[in-house]
Structure formats: structure tokens, C-alpha cells
Amino acid sequence: MRLLGFSAIVALAVSIVGVVGCGKSDEPQSSGGPIVVRRLTQEQYQTIIADIFGADIKIGGRFEPDLRKSGLLAVGASEVSVTPAGFEQYDSMARGAAAQIVDERHRDMLIGCKPASPKAPDEACAKSFYSTVGRLLYRRPLTGEELKAQLAIANAAATKLGNFYTGLAMGLTGMVEAPQFLFRREVAEADPDHAGQQRLNAFSKATRLSFFLWNTTPDDELLTAAESGDLNSSRGTAKQVDRMMASPRLTAGARAFFNDMMAFDAFADLSKDTVIYPKFTNAVIADAQEQTLRTITDHLLAAKGDYRDLFTTRKTFMTPLLGTIYRVPVETKEGWEAHEFAADDPRAGLLTQISFLSLHSTPGRSSPTIRGKALREVLLCQKVPDPPGNVNFNLVQDTKNPQFRTARARLGAHATQATCVGCHRLIDPMGLGLEQFDSLGEYRAAENGAPIDASGELDGVKFTDAASLGKALHDNPATPSCLVNRLYAYAAGRPAGKGEAEWIKYLDTSFAANGYRLPDLMRRIVTSDAFYRITAPETATLSVNTAATLKESAQ
């Protein structure tokens, strides 16, 4: 998408009347939270450059590692900074991108004006370029000072190096590595409708909206709405939300959220012992993630399905590569085809997809403990305490011990130690429900010749196998409330604060009332006042199913 076409293309928006309606009257009071300063993620950085300058501008370099906090990288983004090594990379990426943008192939299309002489500064042309691009990069118009400083660099550099375009690129480099671009810093203002309270200003509001729904910088139309003040009204906001939620870019936004919530970044470091799992390759990793994201977005956005059904659905998508692990024929030779598992198939829901099964296993064997812990932490937002430091894992890790042929038997022997039994009782039973799938996620009926018993219990609900574990998860009240919690924290860049407890409860209730439909929940959040309410900085967080609760039940 090019500079000039950016807003035009995304504005295909067919305005849809919100299912949820305005409904602000029944919104409970919320304290709001502090402003946050978020570093762009790698994906956001790349998407923004592609949105503004076109996808053929190559960005080469290493990004700083992200930080996971409160279950989300989006929250960690509010805590990270830039190291010297990281800045070197930003500098190199910025110079690389800027050089391409002004090169002969791109300049006419992307700069929008021509200098009087290519060998000398041209302030008018530079000014027009920096104001247009700067507004999209900084997510607000440049201040007079900023523009002046940009022009000073461009002019001086063009003079020194005898080239207008090189000078222009130098100034652009500075913008793309500036804190105004790399960090989404929010700005609060007095809320004229609620005396004594603060809210995000219109540009910060536009930024939150855009990153939450589309995972990229606000487009021209949204910025215009911010500039005109439209975005300060409920009506103006609703209009933009309708447009943005009708856009295909909503899928990119939803994918970014689930990618974060499911901790798929951990795939970058995932490895398997290929002697045991020769079917495991990097291509499998990519397909497995994509399969889950496709299943999710197809179910939640295209089919407007119930979030909880993700854990029971037998519908998914296959590639030829995945077919070799699921052991189903796949006709398409490239790309994806829809697939539905038979009603008696052991596979149902996200828990039985390769992404979940393989990500939460050790390289050489499946681990009911790791899977159970992931289920609690990722899908139920519960914190499981780390194991004590002095545990002896030999028994669990020795998969060749003829005395303990299955994981259940090994864990049974291991968890007799008093220090271990409490935690294991919390996490193993649900992990054991997935034991019919090995570390790669391939089906097996037996381990070391002993049949696998996949029965267990999740919070008092008994299940017999992976499919009924999925059903138990579907029915667990913590499942949808965890999603609400994560989605809100993702959008706000911080976990909900104490003063927002009522508001979160309200979101829980309305999520249920609307049939657990994700788009309705997203709309509810972005059309509320609460989402944009700002308080003085505070860090206390609301605890949902906290570690303390778990510890109690473990004792």
C-alpha cells in the first residue's frame, strides 16, 4: 500500500451498524489507568514501513528481543527500552529504508515533489515530504520545531554531500529512528465531558484504536478524524470503529493479538530431537502457527463464532506438510484447504493442534506438566508457581524405564514427593489428557507398548480424552474471562488496574450476553469511555485467578 493510496484502500469500509450499539449508559465507572509508552514490535515496525512506503522497501536487521509481561508481549512493550546494540540496528535499518525510499526507482512515487536541482537543497519539497510522511510516522502532525529541525538536517546534508535526495534520506533516517516513531507515547488531556478527569487526546486515541484493531499506524482518515475533533465524540469514534472493523485489516489485528496471547514467539526457539521426530522442520513450525491463527480468525471473525467453541471445533485448515503429521490426505499441493475431523476423531479444538502440542513439550518427549501449565497460564490466565530448585527430574525424563512406560506412570512416581504433589495435581491432569499426542503432536494410542489413559479432571470436571478435555475447557468460566482480561491488557498496554475491576466484570458479562463473540467484545472496548480514561501513574494490577488462589487449592 503506497503513501497516497493508504487511506483510500482501507476506506472500502462498508459502515455496519454496531451490533452492540452505543450502550454507554450501562457502562460502570472505571478509574482508567496510567498512560503507557510502548516500543513498536518488529511486526508493527515492518507493517508501518510497508503501509507508508510500500512492501518492496526491504528492512534488514535484527530487532531487539521482546519482553513478555503479564502473559503478553504487548504489556512488556510498555517496559522495554533500546540498548546500544539495538539502536545500532535501528540506525542501520532506518538508513537502509531511507536510501531505498529516495532511490531512483521509488523517489517519484514516494516523495511527491521534485527539487529544483537534484544536487542542492530544496526546502519546499523537503518540507512537503516530511510533513506528509512525518504525520504517518509520528501518528500526529509534526510540531513546528520538529519540522524545522528536519529541514535543517536535510539542507545541511544536501549541501555537504551535493545531493538533494541523500539529504532528504538523512532527515528521514532521523525520523525513523526517533523516539517519536519507535515509541508510542500516549498523551492525556482534561476530559471536557467529565470534570476533573483525564482522557487520551485524540491522536493517542487514534493510535490505540489503530494498533489494537489493525496492528499498524493510524491511516490518513483516522488522523483526520483526530485532527478535526470528530474522534472526541462517541459518534465520531463509532464511525471510525465501524469502518475499521469492516476492513480486512481487522484480521491482521486479531492475528497479532492471538499470536501474542498464544505465545507463538516461543516458536522461534523451538527445537525437537529430529532423530525421534523426523517430521519436525521449520516449515512445520510455520504451518502449525498459521493453522491455528487461521482456525481462530475463520471461526471468530468470518463465522462470528463463540470463542469457547475454539476448544471443541473439528474444523480447521491443512497444508500437505501438516497432513503428514495429522496423517490425513491433503489434496492441495500449495497453500491451504479446509479440513474437518470426523466426529470420532481424537482431535478436536485448539488443544489438539500441533501448535499447542509441540510448543508445550520438551524436545524429546511430550510433557503433561508443561502442557498443563500452559493450559492454565495461557488459556485460563492462572499463574502456576515455578518448581522448587532442587527437584530431581530423572524419573520423569527417563522414557525408557520399563517400570514406568507411560508419562502417567512416571509422573505418578515422581509426584509422590510432598514438595511436588501440590503443583502437579494442579497441572498434570489436564496435560495427561493430551498424552495421546507426542511431542510433535502426532497421534499415538500407546507409549512403550502400554496403552495411554487420557482421562483426567479440570477444576472438578472429569474428562476421558483430549476432545472431552476441550469440552471441559469450553465450559470453564475462566476460559472466556481470561480472553477478556488478555484482550483488554493487550489493547491498553498494561493489565487492568484495581479501579477497573467493575469495568472488566462488565466486559465479562457483556461478552457472555453476546454469545462470546470477539468482534462484539472488541467493539465494546473501543467504543467505551473507560478504555481511554487516564489516571495518575499507578502500577497495581487486578488479579484474576491469582497465584494465591491456586496455591490455596493446591494445599
Partner: protein, 400 residues
């Protein structure tokens, strides 16, 4: 075809003949087999298993007594050059540049009148290639001869028989006899001669050629009176796994080119499938053998506990085609295969044992046996079939 105007007796006779024909066809040829299927009778109820072939090369028994005089060697280059009248200086220069064009030409064009001895091997005298002296080889009794007389079987040329490794007598494998003392192709399975493993490595790495096997009619895991075995050219390249082996449980389509479809009736006894006689036609590997044509072919296939399939295919191949395929790289053959072109030519010629030429009486074909190995795959004949197939591709996952 029964015409409606026929009288009843005539019609009954034709029906009976039809049944006899069908009976014969089941046990005779693949083409007739296909006709039978077209007729509408399907004798193969039961499970169908699909496989992708991972190894298809000459079966080399490689016994210790095979080559008592050692293995064959490359030409003695220095002797060749000296015989060609090269000076010591010229010889030194050639030796220092073993990759040069001059070196190659001096080696290959060594016929009595400067002939290229790979292109025209008959121009050179027989250097006496060492051939297999052992008693054991893989294969089948192709000519049907079971006595020890010196008279060859009809349509054959006199030759000695082998026993199979499991003791079956009267095995014909003159291909092995002629070339089995060449290091480039000799070697027990898993320690294969470099030419064979090189071809298979490239087939795998490049996805050059896919062969598919389908076994229909597995009612019982061990014994089935009637099974149907199909060997097909596949249309999708093989895909590898992380170990560099062919990936298991892939979906594979059969080529639409029916020239490379081979379907034959067989029986399965104690897990071992034995087929009727048929003609096997397969597009070859693009490196050495452009096409495979096995006449009077037959197969013995064994289902493995892990779901794999292993076995032997025997039949006759054209002897001159085999010669030219073997030495087609010319100088590279003579400098890396430890053999000579004329040696291979005369050894094959002398060993040929099938299809005598009507005029000269010299056999034009040679008995051979290939080892075949295959792993589970979903084999599709046509689009839309995948949905109907269940997860039937062999063994269930990792058991440990």
C-alpha cells in the same frame, strides 16, 4: 459381448468362455487384469494401503565368495598412454592434469584405431571383466528351468542359476553375475555401491521421480487369496523430513500417463505378497536409466511391522540399453567406477539369457532383480478422493 439376438446355448457358451478368459487373465497379465476391472468385477474388497517408493535399484546380494579374484579396476592410465606412444613428458603432463580434456581423450579414444571404446566397445578386445562366482543372488526363476541339464530353457541362452538368499533354487539374475564385482554398484543394502546410492540420493534431494505402490484387498493382515498390486509413476515430488529421509504419510497423486501404470494380481500368504507375471514399465531416473522395461516381471513384497513395504522385482531388461545406461558418463565412468567400458560390454553380452535374436541366437535381454522399499503414503487416483480416504496410511505414530 452378448448380443440380444443370440440363441441361449450360444450365449451360455460365450459366458463360460468369458469366465475362463477372466480366470486366465487374473493369473496372466496386468493388461488383462485391467480389462477385468473394466468388466466390472471387483475382487478386492478390504483395506487399501498406499506407499511411496524410497529405494528402487538392482538388488545386490554381495556375498563373500562372489569375487574370489578381487574387484574390477579402472584402466591402467599410464599403460594406456604408453601404449598410445606418448612420451614420458607427455605422460607426466597428462597425469598432472587429471581433469583435463586431453586426459579424457587419451583414455577414452584408446581403440586399436583411436576409437572411443565407450561408444564402440566392440572395437576393443575383451579385457575380461571379473564376474560373480558366488552361488547366491536375489531374484526369481524367470525362464522356468528347474533341471540341471545344460540345455537352456526355451527362449533362453545357457547360463548358470543362483539360489536365493532364503534358499529358493534356480534364480535367474545374470545382471548381477555380469556387474556384481564392480565396486560402484556392489554392496549390501545400506552399504550400497556409490552409483546406486548416488542415484537415490539425487532422486530424494531433487524430487526427481516418484513411484507409488498401492495394495488393494487386505482383508486379513497376513493372508489374502486375492490382492491387487499397482506400481505407478507419481506426479508429486517426494518431500524429505528433518533427517533427510523421505517424509512418511505424504499425499501423493498418480500420474495421468497410463503408460506408467502397472497393475497386477497377487496373493498374500503370511504377510508376503507374490504377484502374477506382468510387464513392468516405468519412467526411469533421469540420471542413468531413462526408462525401465521389465519383461516377464514378477514381484515379492512383504509388509513390515512398522507399516513399510519391502521386496524384490524380477524380470528381463534389454542388454544393450543396460550397457549404454551403465557407461553413459564415458570418461567419468572409467575414472570413478573402477571398471572399463569394453569390460562391462563383454560381460553383459556373455551373460544375456533371454529373448534370443531370431537370426544369431544371441540373447538380447538379461535377467535382473531390483530391490524395492516403500513407506506409507496417501495415494490418490483422482481429485476429490482425499475427502473419502480415512487416515489409513500405516502404522500409528510413535509408540515410544
Amino acid at each position: 459381448m452378448i448380443r440380444s439376438s443370440m440363441r441361449p446355448q450360444e450365449a451360455r457358451r460365450q459366458i463360460w468362455e468369458g469366465i475362463v478368459e477372466r480366470f486366465k487373465s487374473v493369473f496372466c497379465s496386468a493388461a488383462a487384469m485391467a480389462a477385468l476391472l473394466a468388466f466390472g468385477t471387483h475382487a478386492y474388497a478390504g483395506e487399501t494401503r498406499g506407499f511411496a517408493v524410497t529405494w528402487f535399484q538392482p538388488a545386490m546380494y554381495t556375498g563373500e565368495d562372489d569375487c574370489p579374484d578381487g574387484l574390477n579396476k579402472s584402466p591402467d592410465f599410464k599403460a594406456v598412454f604408453a601404449a598410445e606412444g606418448k612420451t614420458p613428458e607427455q605422460i607426466k603432463e597428462l597425469i598432472e592434469h587429471p581433469n583435463s580434456k586431453e586426459f579424457a581423450e587419451a583414455v577414452i579414444n584408446r581403440g586399436p584405431h583411436g576409437e572411443n571404446v565407450c561408444a564402440d566397445p566392440a572395437s576393443a578386445p575383451d579385457p575380461g571383466q571379473k564376474t560373480v562366482q558366488g552361488k547366491i543372488a536375489f531374484g526369481f526363476n524367470l525362464d522356468g528351468k528347474t533341471d540341471n541339464s545344460s540345455t537352456p530353457a526355451p527362449n533362453s541362452c545357457a547360463h548358470a542359476k543362483f539360489s536365493s538368499p532364503d534358499g529358493a533354487p534356480n534364480v535367474d539374475n545374470q545382471h548381477y553375475r555380469a556387474l556384481g564385482c564392480m565396486i560402484a554398484i556392489r554392496g549390501k543394502r545400506g552399504h550400497d555401491g556409490f552409483v546406486l546410492s548416488y542415484i537415490m540420493e539425487r532422486m530424494k534431494a531433487e524430487g526427481l521421480r516418484t513411484y507409488l505402490v498401492e495394495v488393494k484387498g487386505i482383508d486379513n493382515p497376513k493372508d489374502n487369496a486375492n490382492v491387487e498390486v499397482g506400481i505407478y509413476l507419481g506426479s508429486d515430488p517426494l518431500v524429505l523430513d528433518a533427517k533427510g529421509e523421505v517424509r512418511r504419510d505424504t499425499t501423493q497423486r498418480i500420474s495421468k500417463d497410463t503408460r506408467w501404470h502397472n497393475v497386477v494380481h497377487g496373493t498374500m500368504k503370511d504377510g508376503v505378497i507374490t504377484t502374477d507375471v506382468f510387464d513392468l514399465n516405468l519412467l526411469g531416473d533421469p540420471i542413468w536409466v531413462p526408462e525401465f522395461h521389465f519383461k516377464k516381471a514378477r514381484m515379492r513384497l512383504e509388509l513390515q511391522p512398522n507399516g513399510d513395504l519391502k521386496g524384490t522385482i524380477g524380470g528381463y531388461q534389454d542388454v544393450m540399453t543396460m550397457y549404454y545406461n551403465t557407461v553413459k558418463s564415458g570418461i567419468l565412468f572409467e575414472t570413478t567406477n573402477a571398471a572399463t567400458c569394453p569390460g562391462v560390454y563383454y560381460a553383459l553380452k556373455h551373460a544375456a539369457d533371454g529373448y534370443p535374436d531370431a537370426e544369431t541366437g544371441e540373447c538380447t535381454q538379461i535377467s535382473t532383480a531390483f530391490a524395492i522399499e516403500a513407506i506409507p503414503a496417501f495415494v490418490l487416483h483422482q481429485l476429490g478422493e482425499a475427502k473419502a480416504k480415512t487416515a489409513q496410511a500405516g502404522a500409528a505414530g510413535h509408540q515410544d
